[in-house]
Symmetry: C2
Amino acid sequence: MDSAEARRRFAAARVARLATADADGHPHLVPVVFAVDGDRVWTAVDDVKPKATMRLQRLRNIAANPAVALLADHYEDDDWTALWWARADGTARLLDPADPAAQPARDLLAERYAPYRDAPPPGVVVAIDVVRWSGWAAAD
Amino acid sequence: MDSAEARRRFAAARVARLATADADGHPHLVPVVFAVDGDRVWTAVDDVKPKATMRLQRLRNIAANPAVALLADHYEDDDWTALWWARADGTARLLDPADPAAQPARDLLAERYAPYRDAPPPGVVVAIDVVRWSGWAAAD
């Protein structure tokens, strides 16, 4: 799968998994909702409390080590020829919710996810600059 | 969610995502099919060619850094109260396909996945000893 197709499939997915690693290289994994804008992936933290937020392992990991990976995939038990995945490898940075640069992320997320329309995620925004889109499809 | 419930939900899932990290702490992410036996998670490589296999990033990462994380999750666009995830953090090791200790893994995988019944995965087996089961459910 070429990088344009990997990006297209990733951007159309509704959920992805975010892998970070701490300074000692221990990986950490959580599911995230997200929005893609060009070669940037946005995700955000629902929790508004700054102290609780910064205890989140994913955020502590990014602060210590900005290298991250995101994965979207499709699985069908009955048909392994339908399997595919798309991955974004990149560099993450954290934006304070009050930073004006965080607003476009909330707008894109609210556009994409109905529950965010009434209540955009109030917490820290994570911006991931993707350096590599890759993927695989069983049917290729 | 307590660790017993996280383990139960993880073990019942059909697909998980495996996060590894290289020696420099760059995370890597692929979807995997798997089987749980107690506090061990088994997964295996489909490719039989030893040289191609050892070029796989996940295996090179595990050889350099055995800390891994696996995630199973449930997403529903229409109902965010139904969301949950379950994670296994642990230590991975690689078993040569010819190692007799790899056979129980192939048996469990073949029992669990129809496509493996006729053709069990012939490649390297990954054994993950889970040190922590954790999870979250929106409904809790």
